[in-house]
Symmetry: C2
Subunit: 243 residues, 2 copies
């Protein structure tokens, strides 16, 4: 194939947390496309590029724009916060790309919030874990509830994305109520806000306390498994090494 | 605190897939400690450093060495393949670190195989997913079986780490048999070998076929959810956008 479009995971936001490969591709490309908030984070680091944005809910149009620009012969990067795949655009790019058979989609992974947020909290996700988004914009709430129950029954460490937004301020409370049917209220949990950006901060809770925690769309939530403990104010899930 | 030790996720192995932050810290440090195989991947890129290694099963000793070197005033990085947390050393470092209260553990995340392998296969983990290791070295097999069942019942995309090793060549077959109790045999799956290294390759299977796939300790396995499909030879899990 002649043309490629890149779907690039930019990590949590701090430019230094992007992979060197992602940075190189953004430097090489002509056009950077993404959701307005994330593109604005990149502008200062990549002068001279063409920046194209669409708001949230315009994801399909954003993908079409990427292919249209690539078809003109430009080197195009679609950027995603965190990873290119996990709640990112790589899947939709491949679906939309079926209409552009001459253009190959190349995926460049990035550090998703489960990893970057885990590093801020300590070491919550050292072993088997499940990631669940509480956004019901594209997923029925019943599916979300079922996944929460299954993750709790499997004693997975759980990482929750999108715990709240304007239209759904009580999703974390509802999720905790489901988890509390399986998991004891004293289970250790944590939240991380603004990972890799100004205002970064972590807090520890019990699951009962987490129910009433203040969260927003820039918060990532971690629920420990039955082995998770606190060490010096940090959330740590041991893997079972003998020490 | 005066002293810090860094636990650094180095990504899948290709130096360019490390974050710029991880690269900077390795360049700044005096001593790099890790499992022999991964340290050998780093040696050419970081000349002039002191490299210390211990074999697998010596993880606790490896952590103690990191703190002992840091206590001498050296800047020390403990490296892990993939992420610092996910099946990495950050948790054990915090446990061992309780004996070294003057030394702070700083975690530097990296791209774990679920993300880097997903990028090679296409876009399998675009939505809720579960990660399970099939290694029973530190986890009872019954726990692994339970997690597989729960992940299947929750219709999670599933990523399997450590699908085989010398002592346990049939773990993937046993895992597939459990998954097949819940998931139909035609469910799309994929494997990725040697992510970001020489010999990188991806293959698609059905779950029935995956049962007999050849895998080794450098293979990462992906099992799609009920929505996962193939697009142009790639494994893609749609998120439900209207296109």
């Amino acid at each position: 194939m002649e043309n490629k479009v890149y779907v690039v995971g930019m990590g949590p936001g701090k430019p230094e947390m992007m992979s060197r490969e992602a940075d190189r591709i953004l430097k090489e490309c002509d056009t950077i496309i993404g959701y307005t908030v994330y593109v604005d984070l990149l502008r200062p680091s990549y002068p001279g590029k063409e920046f194209l944005t669409t708001p949230m809910t315009q994801e399909t149009r954003r993908c079409e724009m990427a292919f249209e620009e690539a078809a003109k012969g430009k080197k195009v990067a679609m950027v995603c916060s965190g990873d290119a795949g996990v709640y990112g655009m790589s899947g939709l790019m491949m679906e939309v790309g079926e209409a552009y058979p001459g253009i190959e989609v190349k995926v460049v992974p990035g550090i998703t919030a489960a990893l970057s947020g885990g590093a801020v909290l300590g070491a919550p996700l050292t072993h088997d874990f499940a990631v669940v988004s509480l956004s019901d914009r594209l997923t029925p709430w019943e599916t979300i509830e079922k996944r929460l129950r299954c993750a709790a029954e499997g004693d997975f460490c759980i990482c929750l994305y999108n715990p709240a937004s304007k239209g759904r301020p009580d999703h974390l409370k509802r999720a905790c109520d489901i988890l509390l049917e399986v998991i004891p209220g004293e289970r250790l949990c944590g939240t991380v806000e603004n990972i890799g950006r100004e205002g970064e901060g972590a807090k520890l809770y019990t699951l009962s306390q987490l129910r009433d925690a203040q969260v927003n769309m820039f918060t990532t939530v971690f629920i420990g498994n039955s082995m998770t403990k606190e060490i010096g104010g940090r959330l740590v899930t041991p893997r079972g090494y003998r020490i």
